[in-house]
């Protein structure tokens, strides 16, 4: 075939094409099938199984994470509402106690004022009666003094 006389070789040469070519082609085709069953298929199965496993796990974890985030948000809103409710209750109770305190204070003030007034009135009464008594006594006494003076004369 294409047998050039390269580099002084008596037969063959660099471009000596012969039955080596088709046989080598057949050998490579056979090698493809051998490597497919020995290397590409088994390794591919293992690698793809693992990739599936990993991607499934990642998906699972993502789902769980989103679920957790949802729950967390839920919890947070619940906490918020509970907190505001507590705030409301506390402020209500404060108002109530304030009101009660004011009422009690007013009541106590009124009572104190009333008893103070009563005491004052009583004191006034007693004072005036005492004064009257004293006046009467002074009158009696002066009459007595006068009578005596007159009688001695």
């Amino acid at each position: 075939m294409l047998a050039f006389d390269f580099f002084g070789a008596t037969e063959g040469g660099l471009f000596d094409i012969n039955a080596t070519l088709p046989l080598m082609a057949i050998q490579v085709v056979v090698l493809t099938y051998i490597l497919n069953s020995l290397f590409f298929k088994p390794v591919g199965n293992v690698v793809e199984k693992r990739e599936k496993f990993v991607s499934n796990n990642i998906m699972d974890a993502k789902n769980k994470l989103s679920e957790v985030e949802k729950l967390e948000a839920d919890l947070l809103s619940q906490l918020q509402s509970a907190r505001s409710e507590a705030q409301k209750i506390v402020s209500e109770a404060e108002n109530e106690s304030d009101k009660l305190y004011k009422e009690a204070l007013e009541l106590a003030n009124n009572e104190a004022n009333a008893s103070k007034e009563k005491a004052r009135l009583e004191i006034e009464n007693q004072t005036s009666s005492a004064r009257e008594q004293l006046f009467n006594q002074a009158a009696d006494l002066s009459e007595l003094i006068v009578n005596r003076l007159i009688l001695e004369k």
Binding site: D5, F6, F7, G8, A9, E11, G12, G13, L14, F15, D16, I17, N18, A19, T20, L21, P22, L23, M24, A25, Q27, V28, V29, L31, T32, I34, L35, N36, L38, F39, F40, P42, V43, G44, V46, V47, K49, R50, F53
Partner: protein
Amino acid sequence: MFLNSLPTNFAALEVGQHLYWQIGNIRLHGQVFLTSWILLGALLVFISLGTKKMENDPKGLQNLLEFLWDYIRDLARTQIGEKVYRDWMPFIGTLFLFVFVSNWGGALIPWRLIKLPSGELGAPTADINTTIALALLVSLSYFYAGLSNKGWRYFEYYVHPTPIMLPFKILEDFTKPLSLSFRLFGNILADELVVGVLVFLVPLVLPIPVMFLGLFTSAIQALIFATLAAYYIGEAVEEHH
């Protein structure tokens, strides 16, 4: 020829000489088959050892083989496309492994220590028969891929942007295998020759960097061959819209 006038011990390189096997009517280059059997045998042993006990947590050899598998899958997927790369991955991977093992085996193993009656052992890819066989397989593959995926619509590819492209596209079908085979053959043979000549002239130290360069070239050539094969197949199965 002019090279005949060189000193006779230049023939110690034994370029273009072959160990002929005569089987009936046909003649074979025995040294190509010998080295390819040794190297492919080693490859198969390596792969069977690595895939013997496959585990979900890869260890040792399995790890390396999985890395290799992943590398080949990426190569096939980027060039051929998501749709059909699975069908062609074993072929692309076999091309890559065959060329890589042949190139590196030819460069790393001191074949010269084994004396043959004629010719010498070396990288199987330094023989034009091997590279043309590989290139023709690639040609057949992309025709088959195109026809099996798109039927007769495959030939739309030849007039794709405009019918003016027709002669160039037809020419491409010839230049593709030609460039594939001669690129690989030329690179590997040149590497072997350079190392051979340097070892012949300066047997110490000096050839070592060239040997490393040769290893680099060998790996690159394997990658280029597999990538181009995958690209041609991808081009054939690509849908034009």
